[in-house]
Structure formats: structure tokens, C-alpha cells
């Protein structure tokens, strides 16, 4: 069973007691592309951080690619799930773009030549090949976002999880990104406020609010349900 995400009965409270997830269950089949939408504070990022074990300790189970996300499996899980954070400043911690994209492959123990190949490929995929030697810290928001995606593509993940990838992008960068995601043939879960992108790219959509999944179904159907959208603070494009 590959490329699959299975979340069942997941509840989670932050250390300060704030309950961010309540009994969330979600199944995503291989190569499916699913959008996760909902108002600010709905718990989208919290759910996403559970998918590779950055957050844990609640009740319920999460498994990816048939592997339960727990301490013994964390290293394997993290190699399979490519997680791109909401803010690229959190994602990029190395001096140069190259170093950052190379981190995952080096950590996995690939040889120098393989690492180099992976970095090239990943940068190519996000059309940032000539940025390898640039310093990530001083790039623009859109450039940083793309590099952030490259940092996980270089790990050749089986599942890609993105937290608000289009926020802060100009129309062209956004268009490029949508095309990029469309071309990638892997399982994908994307949290976003960009319903137009959802409409274009994702056949299935999951709506969260106040830590619960309130709707899960075909995008075309859900987007027609005016009452549902309004109830959860969503606006049709």
C-alpha cells in the first residue's frame, strides 16, 4: 500500500490546553490530490504537522504509506512525506539555496554525485536552476516558496504536503506553481485559502472548521453548496 494517507480519530491539544483537532479522520488514496480548506485557526496546519510526526501525543492514529507515524518510524516517514511549511523562512535554514536543497539527500546518506543530481533535478522542477549559489535569506517571497518546495522534492517524497503554497505569490508565480503541482505525479495534500486554485487543480476537497472535518467530497459539488461555504467563512471565487 503505497502513497497513501490514513488518519483516524485524531484529536490533539496544544500544551497550553487549546484543542486544535477533534476526532479527525481522513483517507487519501495513492496519487490523489486533495485540498484542505477552512478559516484561519481551523486546524489545517496542526493536522499537516501530524503527517510526519512533528506534532504528536494526541489520541488517534496517523499512518502514511502503510507505516504508522510513531517514534520508531519517524525517520522512514520523514523520507516519504515531503512537508513544506507555511512560512518559507522556517523552511530555509542553510547559507545557500544549494545547501538547503541538498540537506535531505545528504542526511539520507546519498553519495555526493547523487546529491548533486537530486539538487539539479529539484531546482529544475521549480525552475530555479540558476539560483543554486544564491543566498536564500535575501530572495523574494515567491522565490523562497519555490526553493522551499525544491528542498522537499530533492528527497523524492512519495507524498507531498504543502501548507498554503500560494499565499503571498504574485499572479504569475501563482500560475507557475499551479502548473508545477499539476505536473507532479504524486499524492498531494494542500492546505489553502485559494479556492480558485482548488477549483482548477483538486478534484477532492476537505473543509475543516474548529478542529473538525465538516465536509469532504468532490470539489465541484461542495463549491456549489452556498450555505456550507458561508457557514465556514469561505467565499466562492
Amino acid at each position: 500500500m503505497h502513497h497513501e494517507i490514513e488518519v483516524s480519530g485524531l484529536s490533539f491539544a496544544y500544551p497550553d490546553g487549546h484543542v486544535a483537532l477533534r476526532n479527525v479522520s481522513l483517507h487519501i488514496t495513492p496519487c490523489e490530490k486533495v485540498a484542505l480548506v477552512g478559516p484561519n485557526g481551523a486546524g489545517k496546519s496542526t493536522l499537516i504537522l501530524h503527517l510526519n510526526g512533528i506534532l504528536n501525543g494526541g489520541s488517534g492514529t496517523v499512518s502514511v504509506c502503510g507505516l504508522e507515524v510513531k517514534k520508531e518510524n519517524l525517520a522512514r516517514v520523514r523520507a516519504m512525506v515531503g512537508l513544506v511549511f507555511q512560512s518559507p523562512d522556517d523552511q530555509l535554514f542553510s547559507p545557500t539555496v544549494y545547501d538547503d536543497v541538498a540537506y535531505g539527500p545528504i542526511y539520507q546518506g546519498l553519495s555526493a554525485a547523487e546529491v548533486d543530481g537530486r539538487v539539479r533535478e529539484a531546482l529544475q522542477a521549480v525552475r530555479m536552476s540558476n539560483y543554486a549559489r544564491r543566498v536564500s535569506h535575501h530572495l523574494s517571497m515567491g522565490e523562497k516558496k519555490r526553493i522551499a518546495i525544491a528542498t522537499v522534492l530533492s528527497m523524492k517524497p512519495e507524498i507531498l504536503v504543502l501548507d498554503e503554497p500560494t499565499a503571498g505569490l504574485d499572479p504569475r508565480a501563482r500560475r507557475d506553481l499551479i502548473k508545477l503541482l499539476d505536473d507532479l505525479p504524486i499524492t498531494m495534500l494542500v492546505s489553502t485559502h485559494d479556492l480558485r486554485m482548488v477549483q482548477e487543480l483538486f478534484p477532492r476537497m476537505v473543509i475543516m472548521d474548529e478542529g473538525r472535518i465538516v465536509a469532504d467530497g468532490e470539489t465541484a459539488v461542495l463549491l456549489k453548496d452556498q450555505a456550507l461555504l458561508e457557514a465556514h467563512g469561505l467565499e466562492l471565487p
Binding site: 510526519n52 512533528i54 516517514v77 511549511f85 535554514f93 542553510s94 547559507p95 545547501d99 545528504i106 542526511y107
Partner: protein, 268 residues
């Protein structure tokens, strides 16, 4: 991830919480000084100091268990004093033989060791009560009252203000690193890279943090300038100490002084 749980201050309404921070600060330091002055083996004094600390903990309503658990923090350092058990000359107590060479513990050595550990433990309890019952801005009031130069106090203040912001950023960097620290599980691959590479990655993250800090400090400076900062730190004068707090201060210092003299006279 927010890490305000890093701030040890716990809001409360207890007598200790309401005591003037200057008085608290002086009494805490006086207590620790008394413990430090108490000669080793002066058990009655240690017992009384411990009772005093317990009394303060109870008064502070922080919970005895909470303070004890936190006080364990200082324990590892006790290792540094362990050798003294065996090296101090005195009445031999017991011997350990480790292979070819043996160690002989002496009564004096054990007494010194236990005294050091006790002093340390009691002192830490008081320090915990101080920091858990006094918000940092009030500690800064105590610093000012102790004539710590203004510039230094204002550095402390700025540090405190940005500590949580930067600790937050450090946590997010750690999170990003662990998100990409994966192993494919394929045989024959050495996961994790070399130690020196890992060290340099951690260093890069630190450099990243410093750079953000420096660039942020530029913005803070501009923001301060735009509100009329001219390099001179000004603050309001401290309010006078209330009579009741004076009384607590004097009684506390007198009591601790008596304990110190007592230990010094009969056990020194």
C-alpha cells in the same frame, strides 16, 4: 509553535506574589548567602533553612511538588562534588574497590558532600520561588533598585522582549530540520551525514537566527528612533517601599542573620 510555557512565571495571588520585588530579591539573595555561609555539618541550621524554604513554598501557593521537581535541575552538577567524599582526610567510613585501586570514603568527606548538595538544593528552591512568583519586569525593578546600570537593565529588558520571539524561530528551524531528516530504510546507506556536517548545519541555523536578530534589531532601532529614542534610557522613578514590606524585609534579614550566626558559632 508558541513557547510561552518557557516563561517560568506563574500568576497568583499569594502573599509571596504580592511582596515587593525588591524585598523578595534581597531576601532570596540573603537566604542563599546564609546557606552558603553555613558550615558543613551544621545540621540543625540546614533543617531550619529547609523549613524556612518549605514555609515560603507553601506561602507562595506554587505547589511543593512543582518546586521540588524543578529543583532537580541543579542535581547533575552534584557530580562535581562527589570526589570530595573520598579525598577529604578523616575517619574512614567504607571502602570501594574498583579493580586494582580502592577508594575510602571518610565521614568528613560524606559530611562535606551532603552539606554541599543540601545547600545547593535549598538555594535552588528559593530561586525557583523567586522566578515563579515574580514577572520579569518586576525583577528588572529589583535590578534597578540594586543599582545595576541603566544600560544593562535595558539590555535585559530588550532581551526578554525578544527571547520568546527568537526561541520560537529557533524551534521552527529545528522543526524544519527534523521534517527533512528522513531515512529511506534502504540498506547500505549511512543516515545522518558526518558529525562535522551536522555540526555545521546546526551552525548555519544559528547563523540564520543571528542574522534575523541583527536585522530585526535594526528595525527595532528605527522604531525606537521614530518614537523619540535618543540613546538615553529613561524610566520612571521607583515607588517608595511600603511600611509592611519594610517590616518583612527587616524581619527576614534579621532571622537569616541569626541563623547564620548560630551556625557559625556552634558548628563553624
Amino acid at each position: 509553535m508558541h513557547i510561552h510555557f518557557l516563561d517560568p512565571f506563574i500568576a497568583g495571588q499569594s502573599a509571596i506574589h504580592r511582596l515587593d520585588p525588591r524585598v523578595k530579591f534581597v531576601l532570596a539573595v540573603a537566604f542563599i548567602l546564609t546557606a552558603a555561609l553555613t558550615p558543613s555539618g551544621a545540621w540543625p541550621v540546614y533543617v531550619l533553612l529547609f523549613a524556612l524554604a518549605m514555609g515560603v513554598i507553601v506561602l507562595s501557593e506554587l505547589g511543593v511538588g512543582f518546586v521540588f521537581r524543578r529543583a532537580v535541575l541543579a542535581l547533575p552538577f552534584v557530580l562535581a562534588a562527589l570526589p570530595v567524599i573520598f579525598t577529604l582526610p578523616g575517619v574512614p567510613l567504607f571502602s570501594l574497590s574498583l579493580g586494582s585501586w580502592g577508594l575510602t570514603a571518610t565521614a568528613d568527606g560524606v559530611e562535606r558532600f551532603v552539606s554541599i548538595a543540601l545547600k545547593s538544593w535549598i538555594s535552588v528552591q528559593i530561586a525557583i520561588v523567586l522566578s515563579s512568583s515574580t514577572p520579569f519586569p518586576e525583577l528588572m525593578v529589583a535590578m534597578r533598585a540594586a543599582r545595576v546600570p541603566r544600560l544593562l537593565v535595558s539590555i535585559f529588558g530588550l532581551m526578554w522582549r525578544y527571547l520568546f520571539v527568537l526561541a520560537d524561530e529557533a524551534m521552527r528551524l529545528l522543526r524544519a530540520r527534523s521534517a527533512r531528516s528522513g531515512a529511506t530504510g534502504l540498506p547500505g546507506m549511512k543516515v545522518g551525514g558526518s558529525i562535522s556536517w551536522r555540526g555545521r548545519v546546526a551552525g548555519g541555523m544559528a547563523g540564520n537566527l543571528f542574522l534575523r536578530a541583527i536585522e530585526r534589531s535594526d528595525r527595532i532601532y528605527v522604531a525606537m528612533l521614530s518614537r523619540g529614542y535618543d540613546g538615553e534610557v529613561r524610566d520612571l522613578p521607583l515607588p517608595p517601599l511600603r511600611a509592611l514590606h519594610w517590616l518583612v524585609l527587616i524581619c527576614g534579614v534579621a532571622l537569616l542573620g541569626m541563623l547564620a550566626i548560630f551556625g557559625f558559632l556552634f558548628y563553624g
